[in-house]
Symmetry: C2
């Protein structure tokens, strides 16, 4: 396909641009060492992430009322701490640990890739994460977004079509002028369904060394790239 | 006042960060030279701006239905061209000239000031301009926003309190943790009324060398600065 009509790239963030799992595990290990308790942090991180996935999907389907991601992370954290019988964290410590999602580290290629892509196109976050989370994350990780867009601005979650349509509207563009960049097929399919172009990024380590990375089939999306620098190269930059 | 509890600075853009009048005049002069017609461009720029002011105020008061700024600029442009009996512009030329508002030049201190302020606080645009306008402007002028917020996200215009409250909500902050930075008293008063801190910036040339610059009375706002670098200095950066 040609990409010359594409004026903006919108990016999924959790898993595509940042490595949520490693950051949650690293901060968790530090916290449990400080406070003197033991947890299987990889399993804790996966369960925390799964709670987010389940809740955003339920809200996208209309089965649950809207809440922002910070709030769903906090509810899931409280539940996980209870399940693991961890009662040594103060309220400020829980608040702070919940904000680990505001401090996620980028994948090694992310900042370089975004800088390259930004030279030719508008680059915008388009995440289920709330605006405050994404703003703090960008500042912390040095993600050079031209603007931050969020499912919060549509009041529902990806892959609800309204999220992608709201993003195109706010960018002042036709959906065909926007390309969604994501490591997850359901997100790319949601964007494609409303007329976006699509670029699939392989993130084999998103769910850890033994985890089940997503299969992104050839032919379904306009581009399939190994990382964001590779995407820039494929676009000719 | 102390500003240590302030976590984010929100900025008015037209007139406070960018010099709309000079850019419109410069591009207008180039356009009329190319197309061979004559216009009093300073007066044209002032009338175009006034149409925007009148319409955003009417929408903020609830007297008029919501439209985005690109659209109100375009309607006003068509009307002004008719009043000036200019009929030599093609539709694409009018479209392009309407987008001069996406290409406004910053005041000489703006980028340096924003870079300094960004080291310590979140810096966010909070303009009546629509998201696409602000995003294109930031990319063109090198404005290093942490995030772009717009009255468009509240569906009404400053100084309607809902615009400031929506901004604080999206930043995940209490209004008292946000400081509005603007060259216009009505904007600062609107922000102050919902609990924001305020910083007034003098822009004596906003309406041109002979124009009526706004009087920003001492004592009413938390800070009064000569420009954005001066504001950074006053905040101790």
């Amino acid at each position: 396909m040609t990409h010359t009509t594409v004026k903006a790239l919108t990016f999924d963030v959790f898993g595509t641009v940042v490595d949520w799992r490693s950051t949650v595990i690293t901060e968790g290990e530090r916290l449990s060492a400080d406070k003197g308790f033991e947890v299987d942090w990889p399993a804790f991180a996966d369960a925390w992430r799964q709670a987010y996935i389940d809740q955003t999907r339920a809200i996208a389907r209309g089965d649950q009322d809207w809440i922002i991601v910070d709030e769903m992370h906090r509810k899931a954290l409280d539940q996980l701490l209870e399940e693991h019988r961890i009662d040594s964290l103060t309220k400020p410590e829980k608040e702070d640990f919940n904000r680990v999602w505001h401090r996620l580290d980028p994948w090694p290629d992310s900042v370089d890739g975004l800088v390259l892509l930004k030279e030719r196109k508008i680059i915008a976050a388009l995440s289920n994460g709330n605006m405050a989370l994404l703003t703090n994350m960008a500042k912390n990780a040095g993600l050079p977004w031209d603007c931050i867009l969020s499912a919060e601005l549509a009041g529902t979650y990806k892959p609800d079509p309204r999220v992608y349509l709201k993003a195109a509207e706010l960018l002042g563009l036709d959906p065909s002028e926007v390309m969604m960049v994501a490591a997850h097929a359901h997100d790319l399919r949601g964007a494609k369904a409303v007329g976006f172009r699509t670029a699939a990024i392989s993130r084999p380590l998103e769910f850890g060394p033994g985890g089940q990375a997503e299969h992104l089939p050839d032919g379904e999306f306009d581009f399939v790239a190994t990382d964001l620098v590779d995407l820039a190269k494929q676009l000719g930059y």
